[in-house]
């Protein structure tokens, strides 16, 4: 399955647009929802998680254009890759000249479960005015043998240990989701870890 779709939102004065994205099953996914903050004080938030297993290429991210003063955007993206799966975070943050006093903070974190999986972060930040607060934070990590050994010494099997680390990693995202989605996401993570799908 290929998942290539385009979603855009034009956000008016003091309005808020929230995007929530969970990307699990497809072979190739390229998904970059976009918020155009046209009204003064418009806000947007993107929360996304991707989990790529073997043979999957999940290329996800977010685009935002700040077109008015006092606008804000918050991005919180996480990705997990295993068995040679590939996750890419690709994004655009553009803050135009007239978007004074705007704020944007981007955080993306990736976790790789083995040596053959791939993770990329390709952010584009186009800031055209000085009077803004902008931050970008990216972290890429791999599950270490030491951590696995620590958890196994507490009675967890290797699989249990990996699953616990992955669930912990995804937990901050799960907290942001409505309960039904969070439950669904946890189920999907468990299925991914058992290798039942993907």
């Amino acid at each position: 399955m290929l998942n290539l779709n385009t979603k855009k939102a034009i956000v008016g004065k003091n309005a808020k647009m929230d995007w929530v994205s969970g990307s699990f099953g497809s072979k190739i996914s390229m998904l970059y929802p976009m918020s155009i903050l046209n009204g003064e004080g418009a806000k947007t938030e993107y929360t996304g998680i991707s989990f790529a297993g073997g043979g999957q290429n999940l290329d996800n991210g977010f685009k935002v254009v700040h077109n008015s003063p006092n606008t804000s955007s918050v991005v919180n993206a996480k990705s997990i890759s295993k068995n040679g799966g590939k996750c890419t975070y690709r994004s655009l943050v553009r803050i135009n000249e007239n978007a004074k006093n705007s704020k944007s903070s981007v955080s993306c974190e990736s976790l790789m479960l083995d040596d053959i999986s791939i993770s990329d972060t390709i952010p584009t930040n186009d800031i055209r005015t000085d009077e803004v607060e902008f931050s970008h934070e990216a972290k890429i990590g791999k599950i270490s043998d030491k951590t696995i050994f620590y958890l196994m010494s507490r009675g967890l099997s290797e699989e249990d240990a990996k699953a616990m680390i992955v669930r912990g990693f995804a937990n901050p995202i799960a907290k942001e989701l409505p309960v039904e989605y969070a439950v669904e996401m946890n189920n999907l993570i468990n299925l991914e870890l058992e290798g039942a799908i993907g």
């Binding site: 620590y150 010494s153 507490r154 009675g155 967890l156 616990m164 669930r167 912990g168």
Partner: protein
């Protein structure tokens, strides 16, 4: 019932192709507290890791028998479920997993039984009070942002909750101030009974003054060079 809990026989261990342990023999009976002391690089931490079969270390000779069963080649989690616990010198951080949830999960894996939640929380609360731990830490991610002392106390808390037959404390006292060492000693005293045993690995003698130690082994260059019944420990 045999009193013998752990027997290490002629254990040779390599780490990264280099021989670290060169024939360790050690017997620990139920009800005893043993201490292994020795200079840096003598093989103290390797001994602890070898007992739990850390894949980073390779046994080239000898074996480890626990309650009459050879556990030398079991996986770490199987050894943990037999009843051996290790307190780490540098405990790992697990973001997004609270101390409570972690302990509940681990307890379930160790005992193989469902954890009774109210009883579990009461038990946790009691231990944390004894160890002067901040109750707020229970909902924080395991070891994330904990100070060195908090991490060590958290290891002792895990020991109390998981209630192993043999607790190996690898440098649990190192880097702690006098008060924290007292708290750790208190935790060990709470844990200790005539059916379990403790193996303390350390390079300083401070902890010996606050615990009733039975045996002290001196490890030098991968071999135990001296073993004696402790004389410098606390006598009440």
């Amino acid at each position: 019932m045999s009193k013998e809990l752990l027997e290490i026989k002629n254990l040779h261990v390599n780490a990264e192709e280099k021989e670290i342990l060169k024939g360790i023999n050690l017997t620990i009976n139920k009800g005893e507290i043993h201490v292994i002391m020795g200079p840096n690089g003598s093989g103290k931490t390797t001994t602890a890791n070898a007992i739990l079969n850390n894949p980073a270390y390779t046994k080239t000779n000898g074996n480890i028998v626990f309650e009459g069963e050879d556990i030398s080649n079991l996986k770490t989690d199987e050894i943990a479920r037999k009843g051996i616990f290790m307190s780490f010198q540098l405990p790992e951080e697990i973001p997004g997993v609270s101390v409570t949830n972690f302990l509940k999960y681990a307890k379930n894996k160790i005992t193989g039984e469902p954890v009774k939640i109210f009883q579990f929380k009461d038990e946790l609360k009691k231990y944390m009070e004894e160890l002067n731990m901040n109750p707020k830490n229970m909902e924080r991610s395991l070891n994330v942002g904990f100070s060195g002392g908090e991490k060590k106390k958290n290891e002792i808390l895990q020991m109390l909750v998981l209630n192993p037959k043999l607790a190996i404390l690898d440098e649990t006292d190192s880097g702690l101030d006098v008060d924290a060492i007292k708290t750790v000693s208190k935790g060990i005293e709470m844990f200790k009974n005539e059916n379990n045993a403790v193996l303390i690995i350390t390079h300083n003698t401070k902890i010996l003054h606050s615990l009733k130690v039975d045996y002290v082994h001196i490890l030098v260059n991968g071999k135990i060079v001296t073993t004696r019944r402790s004389t410098i420990s606390k006598r009440n």
